[in-house]
Symmetry: C2
Subunit: 323 residues, 2 copies
Amino acid sequence: MPLRESELIRRIRRSARASRNRVVVAGIGDDCAILRTTPGCDSLVTTDFSIEGTHFRREWHPGNAVGHRCLARGLSDIAAMGGEPRAAFLSLAIPGKLPRQWVDKFLAGLLHLARRHKVELAGGDISSAPVICADICVVGEVPRGTWLPRSGARPGDSIFVTGTLGAAAAVLQALRAGEPVSPRSRGARQHFYPEPRIAVGQYLRDRGLATAAIDVSDGFSTDLNHICQESKVAAVVHEHSLPRPTPANWLRHTSALHLALHGGDDYELLFTAPPAARIPRTICGVRVTRVGEIISGRPQILLMDSHGQRKALTPGGWQAFSE
Amino acid sequence: MPLRESELIRRIRRSARASRNRVVVAGIGDDCAILRTTPGCDSLVTTDFSIEGTHFRREWHPGNAVGHRCLARGLSDIAAMGGEPRAAFLSLAIPGKLPRQWVDKFLAGLLHLARRHKVELAGGDISSAPVICADICVVGEVPRGTWLPRSGARPGDSIFVTGTLGAAAAVLQALRAGEPVSPRSRGARQHFYPEPRIAVGQYLRDRGLATAAIDVSDGFSTDLNHICQESKVAAVVHEHSLPRPTPANWLRHTSALHLALHGGDDYELLFTAPPAARIPRTICGVRVTRVGEIISGRPQILLMDSHGQRKALTPGGWQAFSE
């Protein structure tokens, strides 16, 4: 049964109350939400689309996974800055005939993740569109001047990534090939319910360990290229050190290396740290792997094989308009 | 010629630099934008969709009008809180084959309005979708605790509106009837290039004149109903005092009263003020009209005709899902 706008707003408003925090002075119910930054902090703002047909498909992705991923995309950007998320704003446009049950599951998935991270759903907009179109805006905080930029990588720094690379893209390949993938199964969770690395980002920020950071949302090669561009440096990546997921059925179709390098949607953190920085192998329960080093030179990525041979790597991650 | 994502981001980044302000510490080019609230201020956040087929049509609305209205919707919410806009975040999804020229005009219209209000385009997202789907997030500021709420209207307060009501909806009716309407013509500008009432909102806030305020985006009756609901009061509206636009060709189709009461997209301010408050007839060059008063009772609107007869008015404004 389709939803009326006023009813949807009431439902969101009711469920959003569960995760109030001190930064949100007033949430849904006025022309704007009112936020009061914690003294001594800067605000972080990020927005991310989740569009049916571009970022998800209803036949592949359960509503609560779409809601989870929608918010996770924004939280992951806050994590990459070393920040703490405070408030989320959801703009949601849906086709007139979308079943109410789908919207309920979408909101449940989004709000479950919001509660876990103490993020209040503080506002947004509701509309209609031919496909489901969600835009999440997340506001976070970081102690003044301490955010992790993309632009701070220096020659000699080591390059690290959290978790593993390529599982999310491997699941997508399997779905495209028509294989059944259970959303809650081991390995598939990274695609359906990615875990934003908020705690790892804060750990690095608190200890001043990272010189640059980004989240691997567009693919490792594309995101490392962003760091190289913004920091005006080059990167050498050791092919054999890239952390790949444990092989599963849906990994057999394509090269795990290709997916690790170029697959998107992993939402791991990619960061650089000076040689003297002591980076533990595990931070807040998440594995951290050294995968290369920053060198001087024009912005580019060199992939080094096990024989020490280097070749230029063209960034090949996900781009909205290339599909 | 279609645009690649990276190129579009470069173009936006370049043009956004024109309107830097002190609140935006860092804009496009990292995982998040960084904002530093002015000491003693609260932040205001609002998000608004502009979706092709729901909020505009390419055959009716030139690209720069769509860009202008997209940002105006957000600025108008900041105006209704009495705030000053600081930063905007644009999430823009477009069909792969949309001509580059359309995007250029859209951005020109949006950035022209942004510059006039010293708002920096500080971030956003780019994606593809079957129809053009823009979501604007605007962040503003207001001296701590001084925002104009929807919930402060008290029995005895007068009800005021700025400008005129119904012109935007009248233009929409004309467009639907297939009549030619020149976007820049007098009267039509309210539909194509609405002027957010930022200065009026600040005037009311600075002087502590208004007890409640909202912008008339969904239609006068719907938005006054929001004030009644949030303030837990009723309203009496004097039918003859509603400020209507100067008659134009495209006004002859429907009752001007109906459009003034229920037409949306006017982006005027609707506010309440105590009887003792001195409200000028013109604020910052904008006409202000007293249209009724707040009374005690359950939230409802009573429409009073020239004979003093009152009848209940059902809110009938624009709702996304009713079309």
